[in-house]
């Protein structure tokens, strides 16, 4: 498959490399791990097979017939100038087919899987493109016009002679909706006590705007600035994806998949694991509100989400076998 238009940023991602954090290597991996896994399960791949993470728009030309899975919120899929009905789908594209993702305003990322995963080398145990150090993915960089990707062919599946689009699909809203209400659940962060109760309240009562200052590492919010905590000098320490940091200007920063491994800004909150795909998919210029959640509840929500994905994987396996 040859890339005609990579869009804002198209990278190869899997579930990342959470093994080298002590050496400063970000965990990385898909920004929305649910949609990434769904794209894989749609064609019978394992969860960790390499997908293309598309930001907004994208187009490509198919050279050799290829089985694909498509999921996510970044746009609508078009094949040969015709819109594919919405939802996560499996497809067979014959040689010569042209694939396009037209961006929509509802979300940010779409995922394209290929049978057996896109064939790129594993670096430090993962295919994910680490942009900070320029390795992984295709030659360590985002995809460009003219790049050629092939499916690894590690799974055999009979080729079709013409375009095939699965009649069955997975509704994108099955895990979460990306429209309003735009509530993000958080638990208190490790430096929660740095802020007086009035400021803690401010976090939950403010409408936070998602600014264009965002990438795979993190996103800057803008709203009623939080105070600079009295005890704001802290020693750098290991940080987590989903941490809500407060830099001196009081405008929070949420860490995403490519986050640095350590940081020194106080963390007022931590986005719960079940809401991490949702925040990654929230479009720029939309507004979020934070809602308090405790650790035990967050774990229950996370396990419920994983169980739901597992049910979908099993159902898709049955559909594929049939």
């Amino acid at each position: 498959m040859t890339i005609l238009n990579p869009g804002l940023c198209a990278t190869i991602q899997d579930l990342g490399r959470p093994y080298w954090l002590a050496y400063g290597v970000p965990s990385g991996g898909a920004a929305d791990t649910l949609s990434h896994r769904l794209a894989n399960y749609l064609i019978g791949n394992s969860a960790n097979a390499a997908t293309i993470e598309v930001t907004g728009g994208f187009s490509a030309q198919v050279e050799d017939g290829v089985w694909l899975g498509f999921a996510g919120f970044g746009g609508q899929l078009w094949i040969d100038g015709r819109a594919v009905p919405p939802g996560g789908r499996s497809l067979y594209l014959p040689a010569g087919a042209r694939l396009e993702i037209k961006p929509n305003v509802a979300g940010v990322f779409s995922y394209l899987s290929a049978l057996g995963g896109w064939d790129v080398p594993q670096v430090l145990g993962s295919a994910s493109n680490c942009l900070a150090a320029g390795f992984g993915g295709l030659e360590g960089r985002p995809l460009r016009v003219g790049d050629c990707l092939t499916a690894s062919q590690s799974i055999y599946k009979q080729a079709h002679d013409k375009l095939w689009i699965s009649p069955w699909f997975v509704r994108p809203e099955v895990f979460y909706t990306v429209g309003p209400p735009e509530t993000l659940r958080v638990m208190p962060g490790p430096e929660w006590d740095f802020w007086p109760p009035a400021e803690q309240k401010n976090l939950f009562q403010t409408d936070w705007l998602l600014t264009p200052r965002r990438d795979r590492m993190g996103m800057r919010l803008q709203g009623n600035a939080l105070s600079c905590p009295a005890d704001s000098t802290m020693l750098s320490t290991g940080v987590t994806v989903g941490a809500v940091q407060v830099p001196p200007d009081g405008q929070p920063l949420i860490l995403l998949a490519d986050a640095q491994t350590t940081g020194g800004y106080p963390r007022i909150a931590q986005v719960i694991a079940a809401d991490l795909p949702k925040i990654a998919q929230r479009p720029t210029a939309s507004v979020v509100r934070f809602e308090l959640c405790d650790l035990e509840e967050a774990e229950i929500l996370f396990f419920a989400q994983e169980r739901q994905l597992e049910h979908i994987r099993i159902a898709l396996g049955t559909a594929l076998a049939g």
Partner: protein
């Protein structure tokens, strides 16, 4: 060190163990002991540990913990309580026996564009700055910020300066820099706010190597001034 460490969850997937409030070689040694000890006997669901100045962050896979630890209702709390029971028996591993890693540095001029300003602000000559910076043996307290970026301490007090008022948009790879009580080396070109006093040709990070970083927390480092 008999201080009770503070163990608390950061998220469903990570917890932090804090051994003390301030930068202290003894506290850092306990951080490294805990890291080595956990790596030596990883439990199912163990992913990685990140040593820092006074704390150790432990990353786990809650699904694996729940599947393999009988009765672990809350995986992260189960690991926290397990650590609460285990830390008093934490062994002390021998340190300081390994030779320091030598880092050849070209100080000043185009390799260290801030050397002159650092000398001016500290009231030292450029040669005194170089001598002070290179005669200290540093400890790697932490790797972070960028893949392979070592946070080295402790800088001689005469060289302590706050960060630059305006960070640079692009610091060249290999730059040797100072800020506060720390000195460090940029493995990749990146934005940065530290004072650049030199540059090394050593490759600090190579994803094809195992481990990928030249330095690890606990290593000792010496800067060696080199030609021209």
């Amino acid at each position: 060190m008999s201080t009770v460490p503070d163990i608390r969850p950061l998220s469903e997937k990570a917890l932090v163990i804090t051994f003390g409030p301030n930068i202290d070689p003894m506290v850092h040694a306990r951080v490294l002991d805990m890291a080595d000890w956990l790596r030596a006997q990883p439990f199912p669901g163990f992913l990685a540990v990140v040593p820092a100045y006074v704390s150790l962050t432990l990353h786990i896979d809650p699904l694996l913990i729940r599947a393999t630890w009988p009765g672990a209702g809350s995986p992260i709390r189960a690991v926290c309580s397990w650590l609460e029971n285990k830390w008093p028996n934490l062994p002390q591993y021998p340190r300081q026996t390994i030779d320091p890693v030598d880092i050849p540095v070209y100080y000043g001029a185009e390799n260290g564009p801030d050397l002159n300003a650092v000398a001016a602000q500290t009231g030292l000559t450029e040669n005194e700055v170089i001598r002070l910076h290179s005669e200290t043996i540093y400890t790697v307290y932490m790797i972070g910020f960028l893949p392979g970026f070592p946070y080295l301490g402790i800088l001689p007090p005469a060289l302590e300066l706050p960060r630059r008022a305006t960070p640079r948009v692009r610091v060249p790879a290999g730059s040797v820099a100072i800020a506060g009580q720390q000195t460090g080396i940029y493995p990749q070109a990146s934005p940065g706010g530290w004072h650049l006093i030199g540059r090394t040709d050593l490759q600090l990070f190579d994803p094809q190597r195992n481990p990928p970083a030249l330095l690890a927390p606990g290593d000792r480092v010496r800067f060696v001034p080199s030609g021209p």
